[in-house]
C-alpha cells in the first residue's frame, strides 16, 4: 500500500495555491509518467455529481484522527468487526459498502481527496451546486457550466466528436452551454420516429426558433446511439423495472451503465455528466446499514457497472465524483447531519495514478473546525478538476484560465 498520507500533512500541497484565486491545478493526481499510453490517446472524462451534499466523513472516514470517534458518535465507522471500514492508509478508511471502490484503490485506479470544497462557503444546496457546476468563484447564475466550456477548448486530437453527454431530461448546468451535447433518456413510448416529420420540424425550428433548433438537432442525433446500444433502462429516481440486488438503486446503476456504453462506443461522446440525487440525509443517516450505507452501496454498484460497460475504454478514462458540500462533523439531533462545508471527492479510472488519499488534513479538533461545526476545507475542488482537464484532456493553461474555471 502507498504510504503518502499515513501521517497527516504528508503530500502537503502549498495552501496558497489552492485557496483564494484557485489558479493552480492539482498536478499530483496525475497518472501520466507511470501510465502513459503509447497508442494514440482517446481520453474519456465523466463527472458524476452527487446532489444533496455527500457526507464525505462517512465515505472516506478519518478513522485515525484522535477526535473522530468522539465527534461523530453514532455516525463513526467501525474499524473492527464484520462491518469494519477498509483501511486506505493509517489515517483514512473506506466505508465497507464500497467494495468495488476498495478494489480500484488497491489496483491504484482510485484517488480519494479529503477536506476539499468549492469556494462556496454558504450552506444552500442550490447555490452550492451553482458554484460547483458553473466553476466560478461565487454564485453567478450563468447559463453554462465548466464542463461545457471545456468541451469547446479540448484539443481535437483523439476526440472524434466534441459533443458532451448528458443522461437527463433536464440537462445539468455543468454540461449545459454553447457546445453541443448528446442527451439521452429512455424512449417515452414504443414508437419509431418518422424521418419525414423530423425533417419538417428541423426546417420549422431553423426558420423560427434557433434554441429549439439546436436542442432538437442534438436530441435527434443521439437517438440512434441510444436505441441501438441501450435497453429501456430507468433513470435515477425512477422506479426500477427489475428486481435484484440493486433494486432501490437500479436507476443509478442503469444510468451509469448507459453512460459507460456511450463513452465506450467508437463514435460516441467522450465527455459527460451524470447526477445521482438523494444524499441530503438530515435524519437517521445510518452509515453502515442505514440509508447512507445502502446508498453508498448503490453508488458502488453504479461504479462497477460503469467499469464493465466501459470495457477497454476504462484504461483511457477518468471519472470524477463530486458533491456541492459536506455535512456537519457532529450528528444533529436526529442521528443525521446538517449542511456543512468540506467533504471528499474521488477520481477513478484507468488513467488515474491512484491508491492514494490526497489531503492537507486540517484535523477535527475544536479549533480546526470551520465555524465550530464543519470540516475545514484545505483543497479547492477546482484545482483537482483543473488538474484533470490539463493532464488528462490536454487543456492549456491559457484555456483553463479563460474558459473552463475562471475564478
Amino acid at each position: 500500500m502507498p504510504s503518502q498520507s499515513r501521517i497527516p500533512f504528508v503530500n502537503q500541497p502549498t495552501r496558497r495555491g489552492f485557496l483564494g484565486g484557485g489558479a493552480a491545478s492539482l498536478a499530483f493526481w496525475s497518472c501520466v509518467p507511470s501510465r502513459a499510453v503509447a497508442a494514440p490517446r482517446d481520453p474519456r472524462f465523466l463527472v458524476i455529481i452527487l446532489r444533496g451534499g455527500l457526507d464525505g466523513l462517512s465515505y472516506i472516514a478519518p478513522v485515525g484522527d484522535p477526535d473522530y470517534i468522539g465527534l461523530r458518535g453514532a455516525l463513526a465507522l467501525p474499524v473492527e468487526g464484520s462491518d469494519a471500514a477498509t483501511s486506505l492508509d493509517g489515517l483514512f478508511a473506506l466505508n465497507r459498502n464500497a467494495p468495488f471502490l476498495a478494489e480500484l484503490y488497491k489496483r491504484r485506479e482510485a484517488i480519494a481527496i479529503q477536506a476539499v470544497a468549492t469556494p462556496y462557503r454558504g450552506r444552500s444546496h442550490f447555490d452550492g451546486q451553482d458554484v460547483l457546476e458553473s466553476g466560478l468563484g461565487q454564485v453567478a447564475r450563468i447559463e453554462d457550466g465548466w464542463l461545457n466550456r471545456s468541451l469547446g477548448v479540448v484539443p481535437a486530437v483523439g476526440l472524434p466528436r466534441r459533443s458532451g453527454l448528458a443522461l437527463a431530461a433536464v440537462v445539468p448546468l455543468v454540461i449545459r452551454g454553447k457546445q453541443p451535447i448528446y442527451s439521452w433518456i429512455p424512449p417515452a413510448a414504443n414508437l419509431p420516429l418518422r424521418e419525414s416529420t423530423i425533417q419538417r420540424l428541423v426546417d420549422l425550428y431553423a426558420a423560427t426558433d434557433p434554441q429549439l433548433a439546436a436542442a432538437f438537432a442534438e436530441g435527434i442525433s443521439s437517438r440512434a446511439v441510444g436505441r441501438s446500444e441501450t435497453s429501456a433502462a430507468p433513470m435515477p429516481g425512477q422506479a426500477p423495472t427489475s428486481p435484484g440486488q440493486a433494486a432501490p438503486f437500479a436507476g443509478f446503476v442503469a444510468a451509469a451503465e448507459t453512460a459507460g456504453r456511450f463513452l465506450a462506443s467508437a463514435d460516441g461522446p467522450r465527455i459527460g455528466a451524470l447526477s445521482f440525487d438523494g444524499w441530503d440525509m438530515h435524519a437517521h443517516a445510518g452509515v453502515v446499514d442505514g440509508q447512507l450505507g445502502r446508498r453508498l452501496g448503490g453508488l458502488d454498484l453504479a461504479i462497477r457497472a460503469l467499469h464493465t460497460a466501459l470495457g477497454a475504454a476504462w484504461s483511457e478514462t477518468v471519472i470524477a465524483l463530486v458533491t456541492e458540500f459536506g455535512r456537519t462533523v457532529r450528528p444533529n439531533g436526529s442521528a443525521g447531519t446538517d449542511h456543512g462545508i468540506a467533504t471528499c471527492a474521488l477520481l477513478l479510472g484507468g488513467r488515474v495514478n491512484g491508491g492514494r488519499v490526497i489531503a492537507d488534513w486540517p484535523g477535527l479538533s475544536e479549533s480546526a473546525l470551520y465555524e465550530g461545526r464543519d470540516l475545514r476545507p484545505t483543497i479547492d475542488l477546482r484545482s483537482v478538476l483543473k488538474g484533470v482537464l490539463k493532464d488528462h484532456l490536454g487543456l492549456s493553461a491559457g484555456a483553463l484560465r479563460a474558459r473552463s474555471m475562471a475564478s
Partner: protein, 466 residues
C-alpha cells in the same frame, strides 16, 4: 388597458393550461376580464372534497404499520414454538403501508389531472401548480407519498388567493412538510425530551423556510438565524398512532420537545410560549421585504420569463407589501401590467402542463394516469421533485435535447388517436389564434398527412412555449 389580437391566446396559454377548440372565440371580447375574474372565486381551487384527508390516510398507514409489526412478531413466535413450521402467515389481503401510500398517490394524481383538463378557471390551477412547487414536498420520501396530494389540497389550494402568511403557515404545519423536511425529528436539546434522550435540533425545515419559502437565499439571514428558527419550530410534529391524546396523522405541538427560552431571529426576539413563537416568526418572515422581493421575482419569472424587468417585479413587490401579502392583489398587479401580456413567448411549457394542454386542445380522452406517466417519462414526475427547491423553472429548462425528442414521440401517440376527427389547419387556428406564425401555418398545410400536421402543430414553437 390596450388590447392586442394575441391577448386571447395569451390569456389561455401564458395564464392558463392551454386552449380548448372553441375557447378563443368565447373569450375574445374580454381576455383580460376572463383571467382577472377567476381571482374572484376562492372556491375554484378546491378539489377532491370526497377524498380522504391526509391525516386519515396517515392514520390508515400507521394502522397498517402496526398490524404488520404484530403479524411479523406473531409469525416469529409461532416459528420459534413450532420449531420451523409456519402456523401463521402474514395475511395477504392486509395492505402494506407502502401499498396504501401508492394507492393514495394514484387517486390524488387522478383527481388533480381530471380537474386540470376540465377546469374553467385554469389560471387558478396554474397558481396551485406554482405554489405547490414553491412549497415543494416529494413523494420520494417514504410514506410522504401517501399525503403529497393531501398537502396540495389542504395546505395550498385553500390559500392560493389568500394571504401569503397563511400559505406559509399552512405549508409549514402540514404533516407532509414536517416529515419531508425532517422537523418531526427536531428536538430542543434543553427540552424535557431532549435532556432525557440526548437528541437535538434538525435544521432542515428551518433552512428551507428561510432560503426557499420566504426570504430567499440572498434575503439577508445567517447560520445563526437558521438555528434560531429551528429552535422556534421544535415541537412542531405529527401525531402518531400511539396515543388517544391527539388525532393520528395531524399536525400537533409537543411541548416536551420544544426548546424553552425562545430565540433571536433576524434581530428580533421571540419569547412566546408554545407554538406561538414559531407562528409569530413565520408571520414576520412572510411579511419581510426580502420575501416580497423573492416572491415577486419568482412569480414574474414563472409567468412571463427569465428576461423580466425590474419594473415589473417592483410592481408585484409593492402590491405584496401594500396588501400585506394578499395573493389575489399580487396577481392582479401582474395581470394589469401590459408587459406581462406582450413579453415574447420564451418559456418552454413544463411536461405536466404540456400534457394537460394537449388533452384540452386535442379534446382527447385519455385515462388520467397516462398524463402523469407521460410527463414522468419527460422527467416531470407529479409531486416528486428531486429537491426541496422544486422543479426547475427557467425558460429553457424543459427543452433538453432528449426530452424534446421524446416529447415528439408522445405527441405521435396523441396525433394517431385524433387524426380521423381533427383537421390540423383549423385546429391550429383554434388553438394558437393570432400567435400562429406563417412558418408554422405553412408547415402544417404542407404536411403529408393529417397525423403529421397535428404533430407539427403540437411541436411548433408556439405550442411548446407560452
Amino acid at each position: 388597458m390596450s388590447k392586442s389580437p394575441k391577448d386571447a391566446v395569451t390569456a389561455l396559454r401564458r395564464f392558463g393550461l392551454g386552449v380548448r377548440p372553441d375557447e378563443l372565440s368565447r373569450i375574445d371580447s374580454d381576455p383580460h376580464g376572463f383571467v382577472a375574474s377567476q381571482l374572484d372565486s376562492r372556491s375554484s381551487a378546491i378539489i377532491g372534497v370526497a377524498l380522504p384527508a391526509a391525516h386519515e390516510r396517515l392514520g390508515e398507514i400507521y394502522r397498517a404499520e402496526r398490524a404488520s409489526r404484530i403479524t411479523k412478531s406473531a409469525v416469529t413466535d409461532a416459528r420459534a414454538k413450532s420449531s420451523g413450521s409456519t402456523l401463521l402467515k402474514p395475511e395477504a389481503a392486509l395492505p402494506t403501508p407502502a401499498r396504501l401510500a401508492r394507492e393514495a398517490f394514484k387517486a390524488e394524481v387522478e383527481a388533480r389531472v381530471v380537474h386540470a383538463v376540465t377546469t374553467d378557471a385554469p389560471f387558478i390551477e396554474r397558481l396551485v401548480l406554482f405554489w405547490s412547487n414553491h412549497f415543494a414536498v416529494s413523494a420520494s420520501k417514504g410514506i410522504v407519498r401517501g399525503i403529497v396530494g393531501g398537502f396540495e389540497r389542504e395546505a395550498i389550494r385553500p390559500n392560493v388567493l389568500g394571504r401569503f402568511s397563511d400559505l406559509v403557515r399552512a405549508a409549514a404545519q402540514h404533516p407532509a412538510m414536517l416529515m419531508y423536511l425532517d422537523n418531526v425529528h427536531s428536538v430542543g436539546p434543553k427540552s424535557d425530551f431532549g435532556r432525557k434522550s440526548g437528541r437535538g435540533l434538525n435544521e432542515n425545515l428551518a433552512r428551507e423556510i428561510l432560503e426557499l419559502h420566504t426570504l430567499g437565499v440572498s434575503g439577508g439571514y445567517s447560520q445563526a438565524d437558521v438555528r434560531a428558527l429551528a429552535v422556534l419550530l421544535t415541537g412542531w410534529t405529527v401525531g402518531n398512532a400511539a396515543s388517544t391524546k391527539w388525532v393520528p396523522g395531524k399536525f400537533r405541538f409537543e411541548p416536551n420537545w420544544h426548546e424553552p427560552g425562545g430565540a433571536l431571529l433576524l434581530g428580533r426576539s421571540y419569547m412566546q410560549s408554545g407554538r406561538a413563537a414559531g407562528e409569530a416568526a413565520l408571520l414576520d418572515l412572510a411579511r419581510h421585504p426580502s420575501t416580497a422581493r423573492n416572491i415577486a421575482g419568482k412569480l414574474v419569472r414563472h409567468f412571463v420569463g427569465d428576461a423580466t424587468t425590474d419594473g415589473l417585479v417592483g410592481k408585484l413587490e409593492r402590491a405584496f407589501l401594500d396588501s400585506d401579502g394578499d395573493l389575489a392583489t399580487v396577481m392582479r398587479a401582474l395581470l394589469e401590467a401590459r408587459e406581462a401580456w406582450t413579453a415574447p413567448q420564451q418559456k418552454v411549457v413544463p411536461p405536466y402542463d404540456y400534457m394537460v394542454s394537449l388533452v384540452r386542445g386535442f379534446a382527447q380522452v385519455e385515462p388520467p394516469i397516462r398524463l402523469h406517466q407521460f410527463a414522468a417519462r419527460l422527467g416531470h414526475v407529479t409531486w416528486s421533485p428531486t429537491s426541496p427547491k422544486g422543479w426547475p423553472d427557467g425558460d429553457q429548462d424543459w427543452a433538453g435535447p432528449a426530452a424534446l425528442r421524446e416529447r415528439l414521440r408522445i405527441v405521435e401517440v396523441f396525433a394517431r388517436k385524433v387524426a380521423g376527427t381533427a383537421d390540423p389547419r383549423s385546429l391550429a387556428d383554434q388553438l394558437l389564434g393570432a400567435q400562429l406564425t406563417p412558418a408554422t401555418r405553412t408547415h402544417i398545410e404542407r404536411a403529408e398527412a393529417h397525423i403529421q400536421g397535428l404533430v407539427i402543430l403540437a411541436m411548433s414553437p408556439e405550442f411548446l412555449r407560452r
